[in-house]
């Protein structure tokens, strides 16, 4: 494959993945509004299109057409940089996620992953940790006390829970012996659901810790203190309007999708079928390409469903509870999990 071919294929893959990701974000918002509506015994959006399915498009058009207000007291360069940083980091991290079977496509091309990186997991963690600056800078540059408090809360929360999040993944990495996401998935692929890290790998403690830390990392309820509307109006994005606000909004839902993808890859067997080899796959190339995609999307969707369900069920933590929970429970538990997994692997 020549450099030019490689370049063109990469551009095509990036374009397709970005469009799918943005559509996914839009429809995650709709999923949340519908589901939370049903949990609260109302219908949610139902007027635009059949079952309200065109609502995200109308919302997008509305945010574009709103007046873009920049308050006079803001620190302009960082105020403009912050939403770009937040959304950019979200969209970059999806680039190393493998979402389909390998070895399908012309020549050595990997059709279902933009970049197969040796340290893929670390790349995702690194890019997410850069995403914190979007929120921190938004709050600081807005020159508003509510925004600043929201940003401070958010930075402290992200730094605290990033530790637990990183440590909870170490058990999985130890089992796979690699940080390459494709290798981690293939290690779980042999016996379907029985060899997933969540069940066969005995990593359910790690999964629980990852779940909690991931909710905190994406600022979702019950950990949504950075934008607790009853105390901080809008939190870090109080002073943002129009498309800039929409970019923060999209970054939040994009992070939810990324976190769901990582959970799927690390604990739920990625794109592989939960039945393993029990059901033979037809020899048709189209089905062989599309079936892994179906499983992957289904797993990510159930993770997002759980996200919304939790949001509709649990009330918000108090700030001291949040810090106690992260440092005194989740982190020691994650370290214990690493020790137990290492011992098990050593004396197996």
């Amino acid at each position: 494959m020549t450099i030019l071919q490689f370049f063109l294929w990469s551009v095509l893959k990036v374009a397709v993945v970005t469009v799918v990701m943005l559509l996914g974000i839009a429809y995650t918002v709709l999923l949340e509004r519908k589901l939370v509506g049903r949990i609260q015994n109302r219908w949610g959006p139902s007027r635009v299109g059949p079952f309200g399915l065109l609502q995200p498009l109308v919302d997008g058009a509305k945010s574009f057409l709103k007046e873009d207000i920049i308050p006079t007291g803001v620190y302009r360069p960082l105020y403009l940089l912050a939403p770009i940083l937040a959304l950019g980091c979200t969209l970059i991290s999806i680039g190393v996620v493998p979402f389909g079977a390998p070895n399908i496509g012309p020549g050595p091309l990997d059709l279902f992953e933009i970049a197969n990186v040796n340290v893929g997991l670390l790349v995702i963690l690194g890019v997410t940790s850069i995403g914190v600056y979007g929120i921190a800078l938004a709050g600081w540059s807005s020159n508003n006390k509510y925004s600043l408090l929201g940003a401070l809360r958010s930075s402290a929360q992200l730094v605290s829970y990033e530790l637990a999040l990183g440590l909870s993944l170490v058990g999985v990495v130890l089992r796979a012996g690699s940080l390459n996401l494709r290798v981690i998935v293939e290690q779980q692929a042999t016996n379907g659901i029985l060899s997933w890290n969540l069940f066969g790998g005995m990593q359910f403690v790690a999964f629980f810790i990852y779940l909690m830390a991931a909710y905190a990392e994406t600022n979702r309820s019950p950990f949504d203190l950075p934008e607790a509307e009853s105390e901080l109006t809008g939190g870090y994005h109080t002073e943002y309007s129009s498309m800039k606000f929409a970019m923060f909004f999209m970054a939040e839902y994009g992070n939810m999708i990324t976190v769901g993808c990582v959970a799927t890859l690390l604990f739920l067997g990625g794109w592989t079928s939960p039945f393993g080899d029990l059901i033979p796959v037809p020899q048709n190339i189209l089905i062989q390409a599309l079936l892994p995609l179906f499983w992957f999307v289904l797993k990510v969707f159930s993770f997002l469903f759980l996200y919304v369900w939790v949001r509709g069920t649990l009330p918000r933590f108090r700030y001291d509870q949040l810090m106690n929970y992260g440092w005194r429970w989740l982190m020691p538990l994650a370290i214990l999990n690493i020790v137990a997994t290492s011992l098990w692997l050593a004396y197996r």
């Binding site: 960082l78 340290v119 670390l122 963690l125 600056y133």
Partner: protein, 181 residues
């Protein structure tokens, strides 16, 4: 290709470092430092050290610099006043910097065991061997003692910080007397 990327990111790195020095607002300086860290990570990546690059981004740009900006935001530090600096620093400064850089460069070029790295070469020639294996083999065999000593050093620093932060709580009697008066 590698050379172009190297030039671009080395440029970013130097530009960020210079910007860090001339900016008068602490948060701009902190952000320039992040640019330096991330471009350094890209340079590591170009040299084939992908694990080091990822660790650089996660640890330095993602954790340590977040604390920096956190403190700047929390204290709401304002602009620094510009001074011209002392006369002696201006006269001696540039020759001193040049001398130090020259000494360091000479030592690096002539020291035993330090070779020249080539862009686009990996850290290893063995196929299938990853960065992590290579680094951990060196870290846990040859450099085990320095590694453990460093971890003890960090532990001592953490304990010291906790001891300093809890200074008032350890003496409830004394603090009660103080507030009583």
């Amino acid at each position: 290709m590698h050379l172009i990327l190297f030039l671009v990111f080395a440029g970013f790195c130097l530009g960020g470092a210079i910007n860090l020095l001339i900016q008068s607002h602490p948060i701009n300086s902190a952000l320039s430092l992040i640019v330096v860290m991330v471009s350094l990570a890209v340079l590591y990546l170009l040299l084939g050290a992908e694990f080091l690059a990822a660790a650089q981004v996660i640890v330095y740009a993602g954790a340590i610099m977040v604390l920096f900006t956190f403190v700047v935001m929390l204290l709401n530090a304002g602009r620094e006043a510009r001074t011209l600096g002392s006369r002696a620093a201006r006269v001696v400064g540039f020759p001193a910097v040049v001398t130090i850089l020259a000494v360091i460069a000479t030592v690096i070029l002539h020291a035993q065991g330090l070779g020249v790295a080539r862009l686009s070469d990996g850290l290893t020639n063995v196929p299938g061997q990853t960065n992590i294996e290579l680094l951990s083999t060196v870290l846990f065999t040859k450099l085990l003692l320095p590694f453990e000593v460093t971890s003890v050093l960090i532990l001592i620093a953490i304990l010291g910080a906790v001891a300093l932060a809890r200074h008032d709580d350890t003496d409830p009697q004394g603090s009660a007397e103080r507030t009583g008066k």
